[in-house]
Symmetry: C2
């Protein structure tokens, strides 16, 4: 990404490594590598890693076919390329010859086992640990260049949501709604969908992570629409639930309860408040309404270069919210074999309070065809 | 997936585990888990694993919010669910209490480091190893139900390629071509794109894994179109290179060389032939043509539940090709700052010979607007 101060990020990272006594950080394609190097790629079976020795300069070990791209998109000049057919583990070992004495080695939380085991063999004396704490600390508070991307990304996602709800009608198949979602995201400028979209109608909505299938949308269905897009490496993630043709009393009651839980939780999310308090606030509303057993997941998750990242809005997290944190607030109620309702906003803590980045309306909508 | 004999796959897997003296196999969301359990999910930060003890029955450890889905989509009855807020590592340890004495533990090659380290702590005496060899052996020869999916998936991808080439014209932006690709894939029935599509025009084509950007397509460009879709968990992956308005002599020469390399390699791919021979055949054509230094990747990769899997068509792989193997043949020539050409087919070994699953024409095409 342009206008990002990568050497500055490395300097900050190195300070964290010193504080935590980490000798070497090894990253893998994914959000952490993108954050630290500017290089955006999906993980694969070929060894591709960025090495950050606390007492040295960063280097990258890459398959030859990525060499040109790494130089173009990244800022790290020391790039060591291996060719298809080479022994990857041996090549890695060579590049790490000056690392033989290192003790505390932090590996990217997403590094595949095949590469973890290569590092394990290359550094037999090292204590391997999960770099997740370190990297999440670095990434948890968004910088101005990141906030600006997230803001524009959520405006674009609002446009996509409007287009999707606009086009919804009885008789459509969930799969077609999912296609509409993807097209609306692309039309709004996304590089890709954040994840396989959720278009869960009627009873399918009672599985929080159901995606879409061949069910036909019917009058009286609650339809859970949960999707997001990737914009310059950053993700969006929003959910609205709408009703087709009519909503019965139970559906209305459940909807209003979820909406109130969402609003009370957003209101509770202030700088200095522990994350779990926000979860408790949402849960209290739903429990008081009699549906506590049907809110079966945490209230939210941070978002940025990952769809799910710190801070998690969950019981047990005493982490105080801070200026610049971005996360979801997404209470839901799931009634098996009947329907589900979820309302998800992404909020940013600014001037001490959580403010919604996505603005598509949350009021109960009954769509008549 | 329906009509798949999962207990039969487990029986075959167990026989491999016995032969390789593996006590426990732990899988993670991804192709291996889909193959063995029927459950299709993307990897995430929550612990979700399928455990196959050689001397016991399979069980799954899942986040509570997936419990219903795992029961619906999978065949494994023993599902142990943990709730957000629980200590995942401790929960895993409990579920593995009967595994304390196990020595040889094979982990899914894609398992994230965070979970590898949890297993490492839960089984301090165990030798952790990469399950890749085991799983690839199981998956390398496709069964009839898999071949039938791959066949239909490539017919659909042919339709998408035809639609994309049909719509191509000067003045378009690469990004729009990428959107056209995605729409064409969805219209052809794909559940998702296999990977971010490649629409690399002019000089961008010289980076094999460049995706797309804001470059405007111009007369005289070679345009590399490389994409595929996911169909019922199985992937397609095809490449064609077309020219806009005109193709100069160098472009024509390079194109015909790549085409000949593709054809000679497909012809060389017979049951019993070592995989590296197919790579050598493609490379020989290109080297004899004077462009050996510009064919900077292997000739191909297997395909199925992964876009890249065994068998790899690469120097050093002496593995004989077998009936039922499916893989790509994709030679390319990359001239930095000028252009690139790649022609990629997916072939299936049947009746002793490689036959193309994708049939969109390979002849040099100059598109006039």
């Amino acid at each position: 990404m342009e206008n990002v101060d990568y050497p500055g990020r490395w300097k900050r990272c190195r300070a964290f490594m010193e504080a935590q006594d980490i000798d070497l950080l090894a990253l893998t394609p994914g959000p952490n590598m993108t954050y630290m190097t500017g290089f955006l790629e999906t993980p694969g079976e070929r060894l591709l890693t960025a090495l950050f020795p606390r007492d040295g300069e960063p280097r990258m070990v890459v398959p030859a076919l990525y060499e040109e791209q790494v130089h173009r998109e990244g800022w790290i000049g020391d790039v060591r390329a291996w060719k298809d057919g080479d022994d990857q583990a041996a090549f890695l070992l060579e590049q790490m010859s000056d690392a033989a004495g290192l003790v505390n080695v932090a590996l990217d939380t997403r590094m595949w086992a095949r590469f973890v085991l290569m590092f394990h063999r290359a550094l037999p004396g090292a204590l391997l640990q999960d770099a997740e704490g370190l990297m999440q600390e670095l990434r948890i508070v968004k910088g101005p260049e990141e906030i600006s991307i997230l803001r524009r990304a959520h405006e674009a996602t609002d446009r996509a949501m409007a287009a999707v709800v606009e086009s919804l009608e009885e008789g459509q198949v969930e799969r077609d709604v999912a296609n509409t979602i993807r097209n609306a995201l692309m039309a709004a400028g996304a590089d890709a969908a954040s994840f396989r979209p959720i278009a869960a109608s009627g009873p399918n909505g009672s599985q929080p992570h159901y995606r879409f299938g061949d069910r036909v949308l019917r009058r009286g269905d609650a339809v859970v629409l949960d999707f997001g897009g990737m914009f310059a490496g950053y993700y969006t993630d929003v959910t609205r639930t709408v009703f087709l043709g009519k909503a019965d009393d139970t559906q209305r009651k459940v909807y209003e309860l979820v909406k109130e839980a969402n609003e009370r939780a957003v209101d509770a999310a202030r700088a200095g408040t522990p994350a779990e308090e926000v979860d408790r606030e949402a849960r209290r509303v739903i429990t008081d309404g009699g549906y506590g057993d049907h809110f079966i997941h945490r209230t939210g998750h941070g978002i940025g270069l990952e769809v799910h990242e710190e801070p998690y809005i969950v019981e047990g997290s005493k982490r105080p919210l801070e200026e610049g944190m971005a996360f979801s607030v997404e209470p839901g109620i799931y009634l098996p074999d009947r329907f589900g309702v979820r309302i998800e906003n992404i909020v940013l803590v600014e001037d001490g309070r959580a403010r919604r980045l996505d603005r598509y309306p949350r009021d109960l909508q009954v769509i008549s065809s």
